[in-house]
């Protein structure tokens, strides 16, 4: 005689198991800051192993880029040569007009300086790992609670905004990139006339470019808003997470909504997220 299987019992068990897991997932989501000593120990042990692998990979990629992308590099080289003459002539004008408009100045090292950021303490950090899953856009940094890093501290790169801290262990911290749709940023578009239009920048899920490094940010506007290709997008300072006037990107394309009431601006980030290696953590939350 075979064993009797209690189908109802199994169904109830599966239901409650699924419910339990969904509740746990919900309460341990992004920025929940729950107590996770095992994860902290794992990060502490594994990050010294991850950093050299990432560094070696970066070195190999940088030194062999011309080989793998020969056609692309050749094309870029031709384009750049053509642009050199034009850019040389426009250099002074650009510095005075565009950089003044952005309210930051390019230093010798190519790092921007915003007056809003001056008052905050910044910590330099290296990228030691990227999210091992394909589902989230996060990076792990080699600075943690011991360095004064706290959840929701903004993170900037040499050219602009990178994201915010979503979890911290004693020695590492995880950054949710602005490319991830969960990392929305309150922003403003500053046009050539100096007018500002406010909106929300978010990771682009809907255009199929969610999985490519190009055009992964988008912003929604009313049809009558004055937005043009080439306009700069900066943080607005609203929302309490990101400081004001940190550059995010540049409007690359504008498309009208099928309804004709709205338009979507596709934004090219200033930071190259694929090759980012060093960042600054701004201790806004950590200082409070």
């Amino acid at each position: 005689m075979g064993k009797r299987v209690n189908v109802t019992g199994i169904a109830v068990l599966v239901f409650f198991l699924l419910l339990g897991v969904l509740i746990t997932i919900r309460y341990t989501g992004l920025g929940s800051n729950f107590f996770n000593p095992v994860g902290g120990v794992m990060q502490r042990i594994l990050s010294p192993l991850e950093q050299p692998i990432l560094r070696i990979g970066n070195v190999i990629r940088d030194n062999t880029r011309a080989v793998w992308d020969f056609r692309e590099v050749s094309r870029q080289n031709e384009e750049l040569l053509k642009k050199v003459d034009q850019l040389t002539g426009d250099n002074i004008k650009l510095k005075t007009e565009i950089l003044a408009g952005m309210r930051y100045s390019v230093l010798d090292q190519g790092q921007f300086r915003s007056p809003t950021l001056e008052k905050y303490e910044k910590i330099g950090a290296s990228v030691v790992n990227r999210n091992p899953t394909t589902w989230f856009r996060t990076i792990t940094l080699n600075r943690g609670r011991q360095d004064g890093v706290a959840t929701n501290d903004p993170v900037i790169g040499d050219l602009g905004l990178v994201g915010k801290i979503v979890s911290v262990t004693p020695t590492t911290s995880e950054v949710l990139l602005i490319l991830d749709g969960e990392g929305q940023v309150s922003a403003l578009v500053r046009g050539s006339t100096g007018n500002s239009t406010f909106g929300i920048v978010q990771g682009n899920y809907k255009r199929g470019s969610r999985l490519t490094s190009e055009g992964n940010l988008q912003m929604l506007f009313r049809r009558e808003d004055s937005i043009n290709v080439g306009d700069l997008v900066l943080t607005s300072g609203l929302g309490g997470v990101y400081p004001k006037d940190v550059p995010i990107g540049q409007v690359k394309e504008i498309r009208l909504d099928p309804s004709g009431l709205l338009k979507t601006a596709y934004i090219q980030p200033l930071v190259n997220f694929d090759s980012i290696e060093e960042v600054y953590i701004i201790k806004i939350v950590g200082e409070k």
Binding site: I25, G57, P132, S167
Partner: protein
């Protein structure tokens, strides 16, 4: 030795996708090495043992990622059960069938991750979910011819040999 090797493989499966495979990612898609390892383990173990490995691996990944605790625990438990069930019915020695099994099971696992992500309130469009599921499944399947012969040999008569399964 067997447990040390499996532990090392678990740790490598956590480290490599974010580091080495960042440079070998295809349009941002990386393989899910821990899911691949769980499939291999479950195919070479009995159900309770494979299930425990799946639960353990998933819980480890959840703690390592530090959020959405339970997402990978549940997913890898389901993946382990499904892998065992398919390995019992399909010829495990045939690498082509194993490649297809890995593709199928990874797809189910990734769909479950997507379902749980939506349940957790994350916003994903169906087209992106489709691209991710197929992309990760394909990547995992591509890795089978490179990894499975070694792992299978080791599970059958090497350091990873699991006696209860092969001495019945």
């Amino acid at each position: 030795m067997r447990y040390v090797l499996i532990a090392v493989m678990f740790l490598l499966s956590l480290i490599l996708p974010g580091t080495l495979f960042h440079f070998w990612s295809w349009s941002g898609i990386k393989p899910d090495l821990l899911m691949l390892l769980t499939i291999y383990i479950a195919m070479h173990h009995r159900l309770p043992s494979g299930l425990i490995w799946g639960l353990g691996a998933g819980f480890l990944e959840d703690l390592y990622l530090g959020r959405y605790i339970g997402m990978y625990t549940l997913t890898l438990a389901v993946v382990a059960s499904l892998s065992y069930w398919l390995a019992e019915r399909w010829y495990r020695e045939n690498f082509l069938i194993t490649t297809f099994t890995v593709f199928l099971v990874t797809a189910v696992g990734q769909i479950l991750v997507a379902f749980l992500s939506l349940g957790a309130g994350l916003h994903w469009s169906l087209s992106d979910i489709g691209r991710l599921v197929i992309g990760v499944s394909l990547y995992n399947a591509i890795l089978v011819p490179l990894t499975y012969p070694w792992i299978h040999q080791s599970f059958v008569r090497g350091w990873l040999r699991y006696r209860p399964r092969y001495e019945r």
